[in-house]
């Protein structure tokens, strides 16, 4: 990459990043606007943050969403890891095509289809088995686990393909049973991928509006559902304040991740040089 004469692709990269970040920057700036009219600047103020923290509906929705996301991400990691392991390590088995289709299809499936189909399933299940009598957190948890596990499987499978298979084979040749080999050899190696998968699933679950709206009942309102019912009325400074907090949290977490990944990279380079 020549620094003197920027080439076409570098210019596009800078423009693309500006395109991605300017709208978010605007949200952050206007969250400190004193005026209720979001587009007219009337001086600096933090009043919308105060109002945000007094909004019981939003606060309880945040708590609901965090709990669902935590449990959905945890279950999705279990399910997705097993699916990835089976697909990368088990060679051929009956149902492999079905499994790999069911792992890739949720990545692209339009949300309205997934949401509608799961709702119909829950309604049918309630008719036959009596469960779930009420739709709410449990049904959202199942729905989120299902589509998040597909993303986890993709992340973990990518890591499993990189890992040297011969270590696991050596352990098993030496008489280690498969379950023990998995927990003492494979799992520690792929832990970073599990963490990445968990975080991805967590953010996906926190973010979902459409599927949750279909499978939720009157009792459970997630944060996107509350935000959506507010923003379809128009722009609101309180939502800008909420957006700013979300952007800030994600940016800090990313910065932290970048810092640790870079440190590991430098360490690895030093280690390689010493060898």
């Amino acid at each position: 990459m020549s620094m003197r004469r920027p080439n076409f692709s570098t210019v596009m990269l800078v423009l693309g990043l500006l395109f991605l970040y300017l709208p978010m920057f605007v949200l952050v700036v206007y969250s400190f606007n004193a005026s209720k009219l979001v587009t007219v600047w009337a001086g600096f103020s933090t009043q919308w943050y105060g109002e945000l923290f007094q909004d019981q509906q939003i606060l309880s929705a945040v708590w609901t969403s965090l709990r669902i996301a935590f449990f959905a991400a945890s279950m999705a990691v279990c399910l997705g890891t097993v699916a990835a392991f089976v697909m990368t390590r088990y060679g051929h088995f009956r149902g492999k095509t079905a499994l790999s289709s069911m792992v890739t299809a949720p990545l692209v499936m339009p949300e309205v289809i997934t949401g509608l189909s799961l709702l119909l399933l829950f309604v049918q299940m309630a008719q036959i088995t009596g469960w779930p009598a009420d739709r709410g957190m449990a049904t959202i948890w199942i729905a989120h686990t299902t589509f998040c596990s597909a993303y986890v499987a993709v992340v973990v499978a990518a890591r499993l393909r990189e890992v040297d298979h011969s270590i696991e084979e050596a352990a098993m040749d030496l008489g280690s049973p498969p379950v023990k080999t998995f927990f003492s050899i494979t799992l520690p190696i792929i832990t970073p991928a599990l963490a990445a998968g968990w975080l991805l699933a967590f953010t996906l679950s926190l973010d979902d509006l459409v599927i949750a709206s279909f499978v939720s009942g009157p009792g459970a309102n997630t944060l996107p559902m509350v935000v959506f019912s507010s923003v379809r009325m128009g722009v609101s400074p309180k939502i800008n304040a909420l957006a700013t907090l979300i952007i800030l949290t994600v940016s800090l977490a990313t910065l932290l991740a970048w810092f640790f990944m870079r440190r590991n990279e430098t360490r690895r380079r030093v280690a390689l040089r010493d060898v």
């Binding site: 605007v26 949200l27 890739t104 953010t203 923003v231 379809r232 970048w258």
Partner: protein, 302 residues
């Protein structure tokens, strides 16, 4: 004796293997595949004022089994031009947005793949970061930018370029830009993954043999990144066809999209059978792209 013990062990291993396979297979079959069969079933039933609001497919009365297969919902979709217009609008909008994502995303991914190694991780995180914040809020951001009293119009009026606000909100333009904005990271990531994996010696060989840069790009780089182009385009196109949030927040009466129509049939009209029929037809339309995506993705998975 020893033989039987080892065969018992083998049996246990086989059993364990089956149990491990069964866990994701059963979960996904129950909660992903089976629901589609139910959508098909409900799409063939008749709307009824009941809880749930549809009639049965099978009924046993007077020693006869009555099977009701109501094709009316599908015929209804054909008879009302609104639905066909909505399908067409979705496919058209998704196609334009995918093309725009590709034209913007490809050079971005290319520049990232060529950037110095110490920059690449940071650039990658910068591309992914927006998708970790909230989708809803990122779409909402454009409401404040594009509306009649929004940022762009205020700016243009402020510097005296226009007198009355340009109508940008609730148009084809605002919906397309919303989709491009929301889905751009999903285009860049697979492209970047393919471009970094590319063997640089091929480019050097082409240059050594006297190929010009543009020629090398068209004959070497582009064909080698086909997998990334297909994966990225499908990751944008397929969800965009069924998109609900973006046409709902940024669209207007002349930007019909099928995801929004389905939502309204379900939540406002409470017509579950028609909503199911809409979903089945959408699935049928997307079957070829989904299979195409799966073919490229399963290569990646193995």
């Amino acid at each position: 004796m020893k033989l039987s013990r080892s065969s018992a062990l083998l049996k246990r291993l086989q059993l364990g293997r089956r149990a491990v396979i069964a866990f994701p297979l059963v979960w996904l079959t129950l909660f992903f595949l089976l629901p589609f069969a139910l959508v098909l079933k409900i799409s063939l039933s008749e709307a009824a004022i009941a809880i749930p609001p549809y009639g049965p497919l099978l009924e046993y009365a007077d020693q006869t089994l009555h099977v009701f297969l109501n094709l009316g919902n599908y015929l209804f979709l054909l008879s009302d031009s609104l639905y066909i217009a909505a399908y067409w609008g979705s496919v058209k909008t998704a196609f334009i947005a995918t093309l725009a994502c590709l034209l913007l995303g490809y050079p971005m991914a290319y520049a990232m793949a060529r950037a110095p190694a110490r920059w690449q991780l940071l650039l990658l995180l910068l591309i992914m970061l927006p998708s970790w914040t909230s989708f809803l809020i990122r779409v909402y951001a454009w409401m404040g930018i594009l509306s009649n009293s929004g940022l762009i119009n205020n700016l243009l009026i402020g510097i005296g370029l226009i007198d009355s606000p340009l109508r940008m909100m609730n148009t084809q333009f605002s919906v397309t830009i919303g989709i491009v904005y929301a889905y751009l990271p999903f285009m860049v990531l697979p492209l970047y993954a393919h471009l970094t994996r590319m063997d640089n010696s091929l480019l050097e060989a082409a240059a050594d043999l006297g190929s010009r840069k543009l020629n090398t790009f068209i004959k070497v780089t582009l064909p080698l990144s086909t997998g990334g182009i297909v994966a990225g385009s499908m990751l944008v196109f397929i969800p965009a066809v069924g998109e609900f949030v973006i046409p709902e927040l940024l669209g207007g009466p002349d930007t019909l999209m099928i995801g929004k129509v389905l939502w309204e049939e379900f939540f406002l009209n409470r017509d579950w059978p028609v909503a199911s029929a809409l979903a089945m037809v959408m699935l049928l339309l997307l079957l070829v792209p989904i299979v195409w995506f799966h073919r490229y993705q399963s290569k990646e998975l193995e």
